[in-house]
């Protein structure tokens, strides 16, 4: 069966076959769940982070801040915060790009660049926390 596609080309595919090819990437639910799971984690981590900031920041020095981060519980919580923030951000920005960038080439480049930058930032944060704590 021949069908005319949007680009005007003919495809020798059944409507069902074509629909299957165009349809779900089978990973949307995971993305949606991961966005919500990190959102809930971020609620608790943000409260901890802001609480710590109000306790520490008035008159904070390099010494008091590194001492705070060097405590194992704080180091672990801060690493979790960084990972959860960066992952949540990567998932969210991906949706924004997919919604507003329609050119396939540009979309792919923007997705790759933002994901790469966020990966870089996450690793830099975790490395810095470990360097301070160890």
């Amino acid at each position: 069966m021949t069908d005319k596609t949007d680009s005007g080309a003919y495809q020798y595919q059944s409507p069902l076959g074509r629909a299957r090819g165009l349809g779900s990437a089978k990973s949307g639910t995971h993305h949606w769940m991961a966005q919500r799971a990190t959102a809930v984690a971020n609620l608790f981590l943000t409260l901890w982070l802001l609480w710590s900031a109000t306790c520490l920041l008035p008159g904070a020095t390099h010494e008091t801040l590194t001492e705070f981060i060097a405590r194992p519980v704080h180091a672990v919580l801060l690493i979790l915060t960084a990972l959860s923030f960066f992952y949540h951000a990567a998932l969210g920005v991906q949706v924004v790009i997919e919604d507003y960038v329609h050119d396939e080439g540009r979309k792919t480049i923007k997705l790759l660049v933002t994901r790469g930058l966020l990966f870089f930032g996450a690793v830099a944060c975790v490395f810095s926390i470990l360097k301070i704590a160890l």
Binding site: D6, S7, R36, A39, V40, N42, L43, T46, L50, A53, T54, L57, P58, H62, L65, T66, I69, A82, F85, F86, A89, G92, V93, V96, T114, L118, G121, A124, C125, F127, S128, I129, K131, I132
Partner: protein
């Protein structure tokens, strides 16, 4: 793909601005701003790990007028995204879609964002 010259369906400008749509788009905008703000978090942690000298550079920026404005804006964006995030998690469970409830939920979320920003700002600066 070539677009035919057909009339478009009514778009954004035809709708009266509503609280729900305003909160929805600002949730997204604050999220994008926070993603950019992660650069600041990364800089701060790297500066701390680099030692007192590199921390002094970061601290000088954070304490400057521009730095303070950026950090306060970041705090507002964080509290806004936090409160709107809770709103969206509630909506995800299928609750509060009725018009008056959606309105009240939005107002409550805005109040939470405002109070949270104030408390943290006072805690940090006072």
């Amino acid at each position: 793909m070539k677009h035919a010259d057909r009339p478009l369906s009514p778009h954004l400008q035809i709708y009266r601005p509503q609280l729900t749509s305003f909160l929805s788009i600002t949730h997204r905008i604050s999220g994008v701003l926070l993603t950019i703000g992660l650069a600041l978090l990364t800089w701060g942690l790297c500066a701390l790990a680099g030692g007192p000298d590199s921390y002094a550079t970061f601290s000088a920026f954070a304490g400057s007028t521009i730095g303070t404005i950026v950090l306060l804006g970041g705090l507002l964006a964080l509290c806004w995204h936090f409160a709107m995030g809770i709103k969206h998690l509630i909506l995800d469970t299928g609750r509060c879609f009725e018009k008056s409830n959606a309105q009240r939920l939005g107002q409550a979320a805005m109040a939470l964002a405002g109070v949270m920003t104030l408390i943290v700002a006072i805690g940090v600066f006072a």
